[in-house]
Amino acid sequence: MIPVGFAYERPDTLEGALALLAEHGEDAKVLAGGHSLLPVMKLRLAAPELVIDIGRLSELRYLRVEGDELAIGAGSRHHDLETLDVVAAEAPLLAAVARTVGDPQVRHRGTLGGSLAHADPASDLPAAILATGGTIVLRGPRGERRVPITEFFTGLFSTAAEPDELVVEVRVPRTGSSGWAYEKFTRRANDWAIVGVAVVDGRVGLVNMGSTPLRASATEAALADGASTAAAAALADQGTDPPADLAGTPAYRRHLVRVLTRRALTSATR
């Protein structure tokens, strides 16, 4: 199937993109990797009048160690996270999680910024960034601002970004020496996670357990209190609201998240 017709602009600079976004507002959609937007447009579930292509802006695609953070340009492709040494060294959880997104062709195109802005609770990287901690850098007509990742996801497919703002950078703490693990449970290898659990440094991010990526706060608190892995993992579904679909009932997802959290915590502490 093919999209409803639209106008297309490919600005040469980020500033140009922001200007277009400010001008067109809700009539426009931003295209980065295009592997969240274009599938939706092809099914005609979205029909923007203008598509603003920022996928070729090299100024958004970088990885830089800055102090005790790794600064990731929002235009970095999943393939970059999967393969570049600096990610394996400084944010190995992200490298491992990026490797599980979709398939190789999708990973050559999909971007971190796009994945975060789309805010699908069933996506892998949002939950991994949530577990890693860090900050989302937004830029818009009012300048640049930073939002802690814990405040970034506000609801189903909703973020703290204003309609005229773009995610330009993701800053994560360097966690190269921390224990980490990602347990992604799928029916088929390139399916969305039925449930996923990302663990780094005692923090636990959950995939597909609610309308946003979630932290397993009860598990984290129990661990901080010295509870065993098993006891802490048994609390992983607290505060979650898992969906029901063909792949899983809420009861099954709650069970899975407890099992996967236990396995991820065990792997992370090896």
Binding site: M1, I2, P3, V4, G5, F6, A7, Y8, R10, L31, G34, H35, L38, P39, K42, L43, V51, D53, G55, R56, H79, T83, G102, D103, P104, Q105, V106, H108, R109, R188, A189, N190
Partner: protein, 200 residues
Amino acid sequence: MKVEITVNGADTSADVEPRLLLAHYLRDVVGLKATNIGCDTTSCGACTVLLDGESVKSCTLLAAQVDGQSVTTMEGLSSEGDDLHPVPAAFRTEHGLQCGFCTPGMVMAAVGLLAENPKPTEREIREGLEGNLCRCTGYHNIVRAVIAASGQDPDTVQGAAIHQGHAEVAPAGGVQAAPGFSVSSAAHASAATSTEGNAA
């Protein structure tokens, strides 16, 4: 809007709608029909091509997005009549295709995979091709083809005890006695009719 895309080394350009998918640009504007569309949800990978050397799904790209870039399709690997490029050649030798519809995308995905991982294991091949669906082959021979194309021995890399009981290589010119075939008119239990005649 005008787009200019290098396809299989040749300059192409056209005035297109922004919504024209790269897959349709290749098939309908450039006239290269090998790249196929098999689904609506970026799932099947039959449309896989190389974009500046990386495998991508051309059904989930606008021609406009790749203006100025370089695309390779399966037609760009081998010319009809010439020897096949090593990857499709291995698909032929290992019988890694049946109906052929998924094949152009599968071949390009394999080329992309080997560019990034020149000596993959069986598991790495199976996971590396997770974005390409085939309904005919069950993937067994596709895996062998990619192993062979990488210069490794399929029988070694694919795992133990996969094949039992038959010859691995056809002797050139055939075999002395056709194995299992014994033809006799006595065995022939049914009616047959035939006509000698002129060509239609």
